[in-house]
Amino acid sequence: MSPSSFQVTSRLIDDVAIIYPRGYLNNLSGENIVSECARHAQAGVRKIIVNFRDTDLINSIGISFLLTVMEDLRDAGGTLCFSGMKKAHLDTFEMLGLTKYFLLFTDEDAALRALGGGQV
């Protein structure tokens, strides 16, 4: 793990928004993810994948923001998927007993397939 400063980018494939958090996911960057997801949700997107392939470290505050995203999206009738999680990320979620609350996929394609080509 070599935590670096945080960036968040995203792209839209059909009706699925894919978020790429990069670097260290903490309180500051957690807010960025929440607002990026909210931006897509306001535009009517109900399917979101957060791809953690470039995320170095997720701390407990970062996790709390992911829970916020999950809750917001669920309230709006949407689905949140995670992909590209490293072993360290998975271990963290496992330790906290949170894996069952998220849809986890090894990679982005698998998540996209699971989201059924745009069907919620």
Binding site: M1, P3, N59, G97
Partner: protein, 554 residues
């Protein structure tokens, strides 16, 4: 009167403290300084500092009268104490006036025999004070007796026109002054208030354990107009020079690297350094080199003056032999299994009743043995445990300590301070990453250690509430484990206060925060939270097994 002490040349690295204390009488008179509560670990040189000060003030002027009193050897029955305190004061006063130290040291001479001398020196008022004390004694007025004695320096300063510098050593024992039987007069020590508030009579007060002193000074009457001065361990170079100088006096040349290693091992504690030098002399060392460190250290810790010192401290603080064994077992258990604090479990492991465990814990606390943070004391505990509980032979003990000494010398310690600012925890995480790489730690293991460290730092930053926005970290690695201590100022917390809520319950309640300590606990093998003075210290321990030719795995 302690006009001996070690030679001035050997009293190193205390110039600043000594300079300030030398000027204390003048500063206090002008309202620019308060009384001084001198704090420092055992063996850090508090008593020696008072001795040096006393000697300087005694010989180098006529304006300030030094008065030194140690509660260590004092009788704590208040009537006896009052007489002793007063007598010593009068003798030291006249010794100063006449510049004849023998007058102070002559314990056998009754006070009335000094009357002609006092009179000839124009100190009739001291005779009057003695008469007043006697009246209180004859009248059975215990309060008046103690107050008269304690106030004698302040009264003398007023009558004699010279400030009196009062140095009270081992003051923690003063809390045990009693009237007829121990514990019957817990407030007697507060009678020092009047004397301490007199600006012509500055007090310098010290003793061990620090917790005992702090407890006495929780009394607002004493706390007022008192400031703390901390005596820190000798820095490496000063400790090295000190040790080398002692050996030079014993005609033993010393390799500088050996002196440095030993100084590091005893953390610059002057008492230990002195004891180790004596051990080298007793062992008739021709030269002191790296190969001699372990032998001298282990011998001194197990059978030498350091062993004697700590045995005396334990005997003084824990009078019952049965309890002393339980204390020893508990101290050893804490070394072996740090963090085991559950009372029920402790009772079971130690084989003692809950009430006895409570007494044992109280004794450890009262004698300042719980938070010693002194590796030499830890080794002494190990040696004593082997001797008294396991019944091992002297050779066995030497061998075991020597083996441990060798292992510990391989330790490497890193220290850093990070500000409480955004993402500063990443700097700490990166440092630990490099330390882990040096040890060839497995990446998964390293990730989990970094995560625990990040969480602990965040916790300190969020909850400290201190204006000192800094976190101190130390990382110690050995062949067996990696230990990270994170110290932060401000608000204290304990693990007990952190209730773990099941995930379902937490999510149902809409709580998204509060995962940090769960992560820390699940990631590390041991997590300890202690209060160290005004700081909270969280110690994270990860057991590792180094594999020389490959990765280090848990």
């Amino acid at each position: 009167m302690p006009l001996g002490g070690i030679p001035e040349k050997e009293f190193v690295n205390r110039e600043e403290e000594l300079c300030f204390l030398r000027r204390l009488a003048g500063l206090r008179r002008d309202g620019l300084a308060a009384n001084v509560l001198l704090l420092g670990g055992r063996g850090s040189g508090k008593t020696e500092l008072l001795k040096q000060l006393c000697r300087e003030v005694f010989w180098e002027g006529r304006e300030v009268v030094p008065f030194y009193y140690s509660f260590r050897t004092a009788a704590l029955k208040s009537a006896t104490f009052a007489k002793d305190y007063f007598t010593r004061f009068v003798k030291q006063y006249i010794a100063f006036v006449k510049k004849e130290p023998l007058l102070a040291d002559d314990a056998g001479t009754p006070l009335r025999r000094l009357a002609p001398l006092l009179s000839s020196e124009g100190l009739q008022w001291l005779i009057d004070a003695a008469d007043e004390l006697e009246e209180h004694t004859d009248g059975g007025d215990l309060y008046g007796q103690v107050l008269s004695a304690i106030s004698a320096p302040a009264a003398a300063a007023k009558r004699g026109g010279r400030p009196v510098l009062v140095m009270l050593d081992d003051f923690s024992a003063s809390g045990r002054l009693y009237e007829a039987r121990q514990g019957d007069s817990p407030g007697l020590v507060s009678l020092f208030e009047e004397s301490m508030n007199n600006r012509l009579c500055p007090h310098i007060i010290t003793g061990s354990p620090a917790a005992g002193l702090e407890a006495i000074f929780s009394d607002p009457a004493l706390r007022r107009e008192t400031e703390r001065m901390r005596l820190l361990p000798l820095p490496e170079d000063a400790a090295c020079d000190y040790f080398t100088g002692l050996l030079r006096k014993m005609q033993i040349p010393c390799e500088r690297r050996a002196a440095l290693l030993l100084a590091g091992r005893v953390r610059g504690n002057p008492l230990y350094l002195r004891n180790m030098a004596k051990a080298a002399s007793k062992m008739k060392k021709k030269v002191f080199g790296e190969d001699d460190i372990s032998e001298c250290y282990c011998s001194d810790i197990a059978f030498g003056e350091t062993a004697f010192y700590w045995t005396s401290v334990l005997a003084e603080g824990i009078p019952s032999r049965g309890l002393a064994r339980t204390v020893l077992k508990l101290l050893m258990l804490r070394l072996d299994k740090p963090g085991m604090e559950n009372a029920e479990r402790l009772s079971r492991v130690l084989g003692v009743r809950d009430a006895d465990l409570g007494t044992t814990l109280d004794l450890i606390e009262a004698n300042g043995l719980g938070l010693c943070d002194d590796p030499v004391f830890d080794d002494f505990v190990r040696a004593l445990f082997m001797k008294q509980i396991e019944g091992r032979s002297d050779d066995d003990i030497r061998e075991a300590l020597g083996k441990r000494f060798g292992e510990q010398t391989d330790d490497s310690r890193f220290e850093m301070v990070i500000p409480m600012t955004d993402q500063a925890e990443l700097v700490a995480a990166r440092a630990v990453e490099q330390i882990g790489r040096n040890l060839s730690l497995d990446q998964d293991l390293l990730n989990s250690i970094q995560l625990a460290l990040v969480e602990t730092c965040i916790n300190a930053m969020e909850h400290s509430g201190s204006y000192e926005r800094k976190i101190r970290l130390s990382v110690v690695s050995s062949a067996e484990r990696l230990e990270i201590a994170i110290e932060s100022p401000g608000r204290h917390f304990s693990l007990d206060s952190l209730k773990e809520t099941p995930v379902e319950e937490k999510l149902a309640a809409g709580k998204k925060r509060g995962w940090g300590f769960t992560l820390i606990r699940k990631t590390m093998d041991d997590v300890r939270v202690e209060r160290v003075n005004d700081r909270t210290r969280v110690t994270l321990v990860k057991n590792i097994r180094l594999v020389r030719d490959g990765k280090a795995l848990k």
